[in-house]
Symmetry: C2
Subunit: 269 residues, 2 copies
């Protein structure tokens, strides 16, 4: 009568998805992931299924624009919350090294314990400097709905490009209003985050981050004019509209085939 939620056979059709869940639960218990982060991940799963659980060409276009924006930024910053740290700590560190970006911990509801736990996880993943923790976040930005949030004066406050994987809409809007280019990774192309961001990568963070690193490695060798062209040719609204179309097409195809999305996992819901 023991639960066996940690023994996932590798041949299980949803093994990867279940392993990701395990990682989130582990980091929920260690104080890195917030409760809301577990629900948010479930929402993301639904959209990921609707997108076919792959990095689409549409996402790849956004990834190219994102890599370019990071490579050409003066002060790029990667903003990290609990889920991002739990799912992509190593890739965050790699991408920061590759693009010269700073790493800043940035939570909606700040908690000293969570900030420190996330910082530690990032340091274990190789980060040399982690901004935004505790007293370091001494600057304030005014957000929509008169919420005030703290940021690090050496990080997000002076950044021109901010990568916000798995961010909330208010924060994204606030950063854009401060004149920053915001790159979001969000599986829901209709979310406020997705719609407000300058460049939205509609993809799962666990696929988007390694791809972003790969693309940045290629593009860093290109000359500036080529990079400028990539950015100039990218339209976020158009790209998001395409992403919605992809979901619609997939829904229609699945309906017509009479097939189902195997979204239910072997486990109690």
């Amino acid at each position: 009568m023991k639960e066996k939620e940690t023994e996932i056979p590798p041949e299980h059709p949803r093994a990867e998805s279940l392993l990701i869940r395990e990682r989130l639960i582990k980091h929920y218990k260690s104080g890195i992931v917030a409760e809301a982060g577990l629900f948010a991940h479930g929402r993301g799963e639904a959209f990921d299924y609707l997108l076919g659980e792959k990095t689409t060409k549409n996402a790849l276009k956004a990834i190219e624009a994102a890599a370019t924006a990071l490579l050409t930024a003066k002060h790029p910053v990667i903003s990290v919350n609990g889920n991002a740290a739990a799912l992509a700590a190593r890739d965050i560190v790699k991408l920061a090294e590759l693009t010269g970006a700073k790493i800043e911990v940035n939570l909606f509801y700040r908690s000293a314990e969570r900030e420190i736990a996330i910082k530690k996880l990032l340091e274990e993943a190789g980060a040399k400097q982690v901004l935004g923790v505790g007293e370091a976040a001494s600057a304030r930005i005014t957000e929509v709905g008169s919420e005030r949030r703290r940021v690090d004066p050496a990080g997000i406050l002076v950044a021109d490009v901010v990568l916000v994987p798995l961010e909330d809409g208010d924060r994204t809007e606030a950063l854009v209003e401060m004149g920053k280019k915001v790159i979001a990774i969000d599986l829901n192309p209709l979310s406020r985050t997705a719609q407000f961001a300058t460049i939205t990568i509609v993809d799962n963070i666990v696929r988007a981050m390694p791809t972003l690193i790969e693309v940045a490695e290629k593009l860093r060798k290109e000359d500036r004019s080529k990079l400028k062209t990539i950015l100039a040719n990218f339209g976020n609204k158009r790209n998001l509209s395409e992403a919605v179309n992809l979901i619609n097409q997939r829904l229609s195809e699945l309906r017509e085939r009479g097939t189902y999305i195997s979204i239910s996992l072997k486990g109690e819901k």
Copy 2:
């Protein structure tokens, strides 16, 4: 620096959704809801947004068919898992009384502690008898993938109609193969559960259950021939196809309006 996840202002645009999350977290901590149940709820949220967070006419048709099936059943049973108990214990008890259905606890990964906790919650909600707990679940059903699951010989084993709110696909398939009519409540019209069930209510359990009670209260006064007509006129595949169309339409409308779905909550993701 304290987290305030329990203080939800009633004017918050997502207050209801946040209160439901709180209930799940509370019951996760009390051992009723499984970890997988938190992710599953997040997935449900995504589909609920895509459906407009309301009981559609499409769902209402399925609810009418479901009420009829329960009212005309010889041995109706309501199968209850952690999320269903956490979100709808009182309505489960009410519906059981109204339709003469038995209540059976039925978990994917059985856990004595969880079964007992769910039984207790149902009893607090007024249930006089709760089947399927511990040794009472002495019968086995063979499931797809050669998994074997226990059921109560006084409940699901002999049931002709089983309501399985928030069930997994394998279980639904197994019950249908045993010749039972399965009524599912599932927000994803393309899930295996939704596709295998005899009658699928594509709606949020917190709206579907009270509506199901209301409809059953009306229909119990109707004569048998009217009830037979309702069931005869209902086609699950057609209804599910319509539900997918509704999502498609909403996605297209939102895209065209250039508006977004406010899916991100005020909280860290």
